[in-house]
């Protein structure tokens, strides 16, 4: 399979920024990832596609440190690194929008946007950081900027509790959180699933902007039209393993759909 990857994309691909090799992950009896290889370069959008249960979200969670891989190697700019906790990933500049969004519904928008990274007021250095007063005004200013960038017009206040927002508004907040942070890799797991037409367009624009500012972007979606619009390369997973990686310019929707549903052995002319 890796042969196919090389033929189809590897030789022409830019040097990877984040690369993983041989990722295995089992949940009890379910072997969700069976030796997956994956890479993404700066200034490119790598789409990750596959049927439901193919292992896309699991792979993203492994890259974000939310779950630890059973085995596998991580490289950042070809330097071996270890990612075993969410903090490791954040420190390496990896940000993610989870498929389930991972928001706290009991907190307001501003608090969610700064969750785990609250700005504190200066001048309380004698206290450990977790006991210094939160600079909530600064937090709101930051939140307003992040929301304004995504142009979620329907969101009236950054002080609204997330539990009272619509699914699309929540998704926008989760995206704003990942995009607003200092990062070099941004991974979005089905970020437009709950969004309207206009908001989907905003997200696609955000994705392009991230690429143009030199980020490495991973984009997961079941919408082939969106994928062919933003992606530079498309990586197909099936049953927890790699099928192949194509350059978007060299492939078609039909080819990808066949690869997703049946793999390469039948009907994929590319494999021969």
């Amino acid at each position: 399979m890796s042969q196919v990857t090389d033929q189809s994309a590897g030789l022409l691909a830019p040097p990877p920024h984040l690369r993983v090799r041989g990722i295995h992950k089992s949940f009890g009896g379910v072997h969700a990832l069976r030796g997956v290889d994956f890479e993404v370069a700066r200034g490119e959008v790598m789409a990750l596609v596959g049927d439901n249960g193919a292992g896309k979200s699991t792979l993203m969670k492994v890259l974000a440190g939310a779950i630890a891989a059973d085995t596998g190697d991580f490289f950042l700019d070809e330097r071996p690194v270890s990612v075993t906790s969410p903090n490791d990933a954040t420190d390496l500049g990896i940000q993610i929008v989870y498929q389930d969004l991972a928001l706290c519904e009991n907190l307001d928008v501003a608090a969610n946007l700064s969750l785990g990274n609250e700005p504190v007021r200066p001048g309380w250095g004698f206290l450990p950081r977790i006991l210094r007063p939160i600079d909530d005004l600064e937090m709101e200013v930051k939140a307003q900027k992040a929301i304004a960038r995504l142009q979620v017009q329907t969101l009236k206040s950054v002080r609204a509790r997330v539990g009272g927002l619509s699914g699309g508004q929540r998704q926008a907040i989760a995206i704003a959180r990942a995009v607003g942070a200092e990062s070099s890799v941004v991974m979005l797991d089905e970020p437009t699933a709950a969004l309207g037409v206009a908001q989907t367009r905003q997200v696609l624009d955000v994705v392009k902007r991230l690429r143009d500012t030199g980020h490495a972007v991973v984009y997961i979606s079941h919408n082939m039209r969106d994928i062919f619009e933003v992606a530079d390369r498309i990586c197909v997973l099936r049953h927890g393993g790699n099928v192949a990686t194509w350059r978007t310019a060299d492939t078609t929707t039909d080819e990808i759909v066949v690869a997703m549903t049946r793999g390469l052995d039948q009907g994929a002319p590319h494999a021969s």
Binding site: P86, A102, L103, N106, G116, I130, P133, I134, L137, Q144
Partner: protein
């Protein structure tokens, strides 16, 4: 929001609850109802039905009784503040009263052995924190549900308390410890402290408003701002003046308020407090943004342990003795949990406030006090307490924006 006459009462309540201040409403209503009943309705009824009575006697609302009420509620309130912290995480602590009992008993025994009062207090505060944190370790790292761990703690610590106090009773005479409940703040100083508090709050609120305006952030309505300041002023001054009318503000109450302010500040205004709310709201999300959920749990249980120890010290000081029934074996635990829940803190985590726990403790204390005054039996007291707990939680449930059925 435009005034809409067709809004139902429930919807109005919900809108109120959405405001920062609104969380106080249900518990304040409960308190007003209890005070109105015991303070006004009952004496009025007796006066009207009994021709031999000589004038209206407002025993419940007398300064002397209100003073006692505050003192009686102080131990419950201290424990309720601690329990609120773990309720915010979505956990529960059934061992708080037993921890308080062990700490109070240890305090008595230490002082009997000649340890000075202040040192004994420090030692039991450390012991209480360790007892709480040890349970937190089992919950966070071994993964046993907090209900089970603290139930075991409840049983075990009751036994420990009986081991420390074989006779079941020990008098406390140390002047330092007794002083906590006996020392009174001079009348004038009490009023000065009240003025300072109100001034500080008003200054902070106005400065915050100016800062928000300067940063171009949305502003709360001016009426709400001044309403809050006015309400706080009335509350502080009526409390201080009432207590001054009988004796003076006791040191115990000042310590309790200070402690609550500290815990309140930590839970609402620091990254640590924010992580407590985050874990209570969605522990998996908190973990994924890099919060150390396990350490947060242990720390929260350490805080309950500390507050339980302080509650034990307060109790020993107020009763002048340590007895098994006053702490571990009595109704203190259920009253404290009841106080926290009546205050509007959710048992499912992520929602609540330590200030509400104080008000909840006043509700519980007032109920017991009022029933005592009207000569009710212990059986009546239990049944009334149950009814009030249900009523307060029901008000809370229907007034929440997600409505009944949500958590």
């Amino acid at each position: 929001m435009p005034a809409n006459p067709s809004l139902s009462l429930v919807n109005r309540l919900r809108i109120l609850r959405e405001t920062q201040f609104g969380a106080f409403v249900p518990v304040l209503l409960a308190l007003a109802a209890i005070w109105g009943y015991f303070g006004l309705a009952m004496p009025l009824w007796e006066h009207l039905t009994d021709p031999t009575s000589d004038g209206l006697r407002l025993i419940f609302l007398s300064p002397r009784n209100i003073y006692n009420l505050f003192m009686q509620s102080a131990v419950i309130a201290t424990l309720a503040v601690g329990i609120t912290v773990v309720l915010l995480l979505g956990d529960i602590d059934l061992s708080a009263a037993a921890t308080a009992g062990v700490c109070a008993a240890l305090l008595g025994v230490l002082m009997l052995a000649g340890v000075p009062g202040w040192l004994a207090c420090l030692i039991v505060m450390v012991v209480g924190t360790v007892m709480g944190a040890a349970q937190g370790l089992l919950i966070a790292y071994v993964g046993i549900p907090s209900f089970v761990v603290t139930l075991a703690g409840l049983l075990g610590f009751q036994g420990v308390m009986q081991k420390i106090l074989p006779t079941g009773n020990l008098n406390i005479s140390d002047p330092f410890v007794r002083g906590i409940a006996r020392v009174l703040i001079p009348d004038l100083l009490g009023i000065l402290i009240a003025c300072a508090l109100v001034g500080l709050l008003a200054f902070a609120a106005l400065r915050r408003r100016a800062q928000r305006a300067a940063k171009g952030l949305e502003l709360d309505s001016t009426t709400a701002l001044w309403g809050q300041i006015g309400f706080f002023t009335v509350l502080v001054f009526s409390a201080v003046l009432t207590m001054n009318a009988y004796r003076s503000v006791p040191l115990l109450i000042v310590l309790l308020i200070g402690l609550t302010a500290l815990i309140g500040w930590v839970t609402t205004s620091t990254p640590f407090g924010r992580s407590i709310f985050a874990v209570g709201g969605n522990a998996e999300s908190a973990r994924r943004v890099g919060m150390d959920v396990k350490r947060i749990r242990v720390a929260a249980f350490g805080i309950v342990g500390l507050l339980a120890a302080i509650g034990g010290i307060f109790g020993a000081s107020r009763y002048g003795s340590v007895s098994y029934t006053a702490f571990a074996g009595g109704s203190l635990l259920l009253e404290s949990i009841g106080a926290a829940v009546i205050g509007g803190t959710s048992l499912f985590g992520g929602r609540g406030s330590v200030w509400n726990a104080i008000l909840g403790a006043l509700v519980i204390g007032s109920l017991g006090n009022g029933l005592d005054l009207s000569g009710a039996s212990a059986a009546d007291k239990l049944m009334f307490s149950g009814a009030i707990l249900l009523l307060a939680v029901a008000i809370d449930a229907v007034s929440r924006s997600d409505g009944p059925g949500g958590r």
